[in-house]
């Protein structure tokens, strides 16, 4: 974070109205993002925001930088080209749960394993907003929507577990109501060299209101979320009375009072084994972990391309039109 950034949030706010519904969780995500962008100290000219289609995918229109609102599900594939073509740009991808994980699932999978250096904001409202309320790959089993009148019959994808299964290098989750955590995570995602997947639980008051209430409502959030902090014990609950311990190869919720303090797990973002372990915290037996699951460094493909091209230029000399045309076996007539 650049303490003396010469930019203000306002520098990242373009003209024109923001057209989300009143109360949409996307507003706060946009606001935090703009603040973080300003805080990076980089010129608004150096950012590229890319998205697919969805309510959330309108994001690029609302950030005063370079923006490309593309087609449904393809933002990551397009961003791959942009980043490899110009690794200097700070590339951000805004996506919905449908855009990113339904039609865009394949590109998600491959972008993660390539460790493209970009920030991915996954606005997860567990519903298709723009098309007016069909279930998405993150909708909970049994959710009734217009296309599942008797309830969905599929287990949701957990984007964190999926990204970890693909050995993602920066994996985090927060909510549209956790302003401070969100902006810290976004700044860290920006600073991370590699693919930074930030899942943000987002409320869609129109088609899936309250889907994340357990994690966001004042009354429930403390008992239903676990805030992961590097080096800190995994203790949660309104009264800090619950904790996570290891039960064989699975996490388990216990009362702090019932266990030996040493048994309580301590979060370590660098321990990918722990990250995988925590990813199992899905469903109603567990609190929802929020925070950074894992951060580790690994080669990014945009840099690898740069490096290998440079090595070839070094090895063979910079290619010219002339040696291109004349290489291989030639003969004169």
């Amino acid at each position: 974070m650049n303490a003396e950034s010469k930019y203000k949030k306002q520098d990242f706010v373009p003209d024109g109205a923001v057209k989300w519904c009143a109360g949409c969780g996307d507003f706060s995500i946009l606001a935090q993002t703009q603040k973080v962008l300003a805080a990076t100290g980089r010129s608004p000219d150096e950012f590229a925001f890319i998205s697919g289609i969805g309510c959330s995918s309108r994001f690029p229109y609302y950030v005063n930088s370079y923006g490309y609102h593309t087609i449904h599900g393809r933002a990551l594939a397009i961003a791959t080209g942009t980043k490899i073509a110009n690794p200097e740009l700070s590339v951000w991808v805004a996506m919905g749960d449908g855009d990113g994980l339904a039609i865009g699932g394949n590109h998600f999978l491959h972008a993660v394993r390539r460790n493209l250096d970009m920030v991915v904001i996954l606005m997860d409202n567990q519903i298709y907003g723009l098309t007016k309320g069909q279930f998405s790959p993150t909708s909970i089993r049994g959710q009734k929507t217009k296309t599942a009148p008797t309830g969905t019959m599929e287990d949701p994808i957990d984007p964190v577990a999926l990204t970890l299964g693909l050995n993602g290098t920066f994996v985090a989750r927060t909510t549209d109501r956790s302003m401070k955590q969100m902006s810290e995570i976004l700044m860290r995602a920006y600073e991370h060299k590699g693919f930074s997947m930030v899942q943000i639980l987002q409320n869609c008051p129109i088609f899936n209101d309250g889907a994340h209430d357990l994690a966001t409502a004042k009354a429930t959030r403390d008992d239903h979320t676990l805030v992961l902090e590097h080096g800190q014990k995994m203790i949660f609950g309104k009264d800090k009375d619950k904790a996570i311990v290891r039960d064989g190869f699975k996490p388990k919720v216990v009362n702090v009072a019932d266990v030996n303090e040493a048994e309580i797990l301590v979060h370590d973002e660098k321990d990918s084994g722990l990250g995988h372990f925590l990813a199992q915290m899905q469903g109603s037996d567990y609190p929802i972990p929020l925070g950074v699951f894992i951060e580790r460094t690994a080669p990014t493909i945009d840099q690898e391309y740069r490096t290998s091209n440079d090595a070839e230029i070094e090895r063979l000399g910079k290619g010219t039109l002339n040696n291109l045309l004349h290489q291989g076996e030639t003969w004169k007539v």
């Binding site: 229109y61 594939a77 942009t82 073509a85 200097e88 394949n106 491959h110 290619g319 039109l321 003969w331």
Partner: protein
Amino acid sequence: MNDTIKIQELDQVVIRFSGDSGDGMQLTGLQFTGASAVHGNDVVTLPDFPAEIRAPAGTISGISGFQVQFGSKKVNTPGDFPDVLVAMNPAGLLANIKDLKRDGFAIIDRDTFTAANIKKAGYAEEVDPLSPEASLHKKIIAAPITSQTMAALSDFEMDKKSKERCKNFFTLGILFWLYDLSPQYTTDWLKVKFGKKPILAEANIKTMTEGMLYAQNSGFFQSQYRVNSAPTVPGTYRSLTGNEAAGIGLVAAAHLAGLKLFLGSYPITPATTILEEVAKHKNHDVKAIQMEDEIAGICSSIGAAWAGDLAVTTTSGPGVALKGEAMGLAVITEIPLVIVNVQRGGPSTGLPTKTEQSDLLQAMYGRNGESPMPVIAAKSPADCFWQAIEACRLALKYMTPVMLLTDGYLGNGSESFRIPDESELPKLTHTMVSDPEGYFPYNRDPETLARGWVKPGTPGMRNRIGGLEKDALTGAVSHDPDNHDTMVRTRQKKIDNIANDIPDLEVLQSKDGNEVLVIGWGSTYGSIRNRVAKYQKQGKPVSHAHFTHISPFPKNTLEVLRKYKKLVVAEMNLGQLSKLLAAEFPVEVIPLTKIQGRPFTEEEIELVVDTLL
């Protein structure tokens, strides 16, 4: 030396090599082609790959073929029917003997004609493949190629398998002697190729030399032949397949435009080798990226184009079908992009290793909405180089995706390519802007109607574009009905206007009247040209016009079409160009169609044109 042997001159010769995938037929063919080209012949080649990687050895489905035509004048095609058939096993003979010219001959490896192999090839029981009936009364030269190879290498410390693998060089030796070609080209090649294993180079050279001696001494051949060098434009030449030419053309275009090349692609037969070619040129700072699928291929290119690279995606028909939606994004956001379709037999997976021209209408209309883009087609392997550059020229100048159509026949076929001087290459311009003064994303150049191209990162030019309809000037999302109407028509007009910036449709004009115009596009060029040239020699009123630019058509198209009484459109599909011409011009056309995975023969053209004369 057998003194009775004379040397006979020929204008052109067609040789077809045929054997198991493992027999090295592609290599043998390419070596022969190289020697012939260096000798100065005009050469055109066509490999014929089996559909399976290594279908069972000895069976017809495992046959790998390679055909070359070389001549003392422009040959234009790899030839319809071979003068010489080289068959390394019974399956190769059985599969090809019917194509061999009446007065041609086959050279076979006698050692492979065992009972087991004959059966595997699929000959009926008890048939002797070499009998006059089985060989359709064509001449067969049964050389003991394998055993002679083994004998030649008896002194070499190599295992049996490695020795056997040299046998195609014995065959090559026979052919070098027969066509009076110097083995130097191949000798040099072997020395480089096996620089680290000189014994292999020596073994192959030895075998080749023995093959030459064998041809001379066996008594099989009463004469040698010579095909004189063709009167070509002086210059430096190299041999290129269409896919290599396209790949090099794309890299060259980036140089010419002063941009970096980005190729986002996904492997698919027969287009993959363009990606492989471009990937070799990392020292030109090209980024050739194998993405996870075709959609990611084109999308990564769109992202790179948006970022300021010269971006391309390469594929074949089924891949184009997948890219349609993304092409629409390139159309509406008006970014430069080249899509190369190396067409193959369809529909669906179809006949992946066979050629066809059946993706023309898909190129024109395979996208939702009114989504026009230029469509151009290469007409020969070497022309793939030139049209790759042309596609880039149009894309960059007009800020539009451009579809370049080639096909398996061009992509895999090769011909001699005269390396142009840099001065012969077009300068490519683009619309990159960096001055914020008065800039709007959809400001257009009044002449080309192209909008300005802005690299993200450029100071002060921030803008946001996308796939929703946008305001005709500002590029902001617009739902205004009249604006949409304007934009749809403007995008169409921009493409239509390109007609002012492309060459006229040229005609190989008969001096004897305007009875018939044979019209083609793309890879049918060689066969049509050859047959029409013959008609003209015969004093017949037949002319030839060949389209390279199809969307838009050249400005003089109607003028040309109107001149002829009968218009025959020859294409390897059910009449797709015919449809486009009939839809656009008030003329009647006679479709001449063939969908057999291979180009027209001259005969097939005659069959129709003769009835019109």
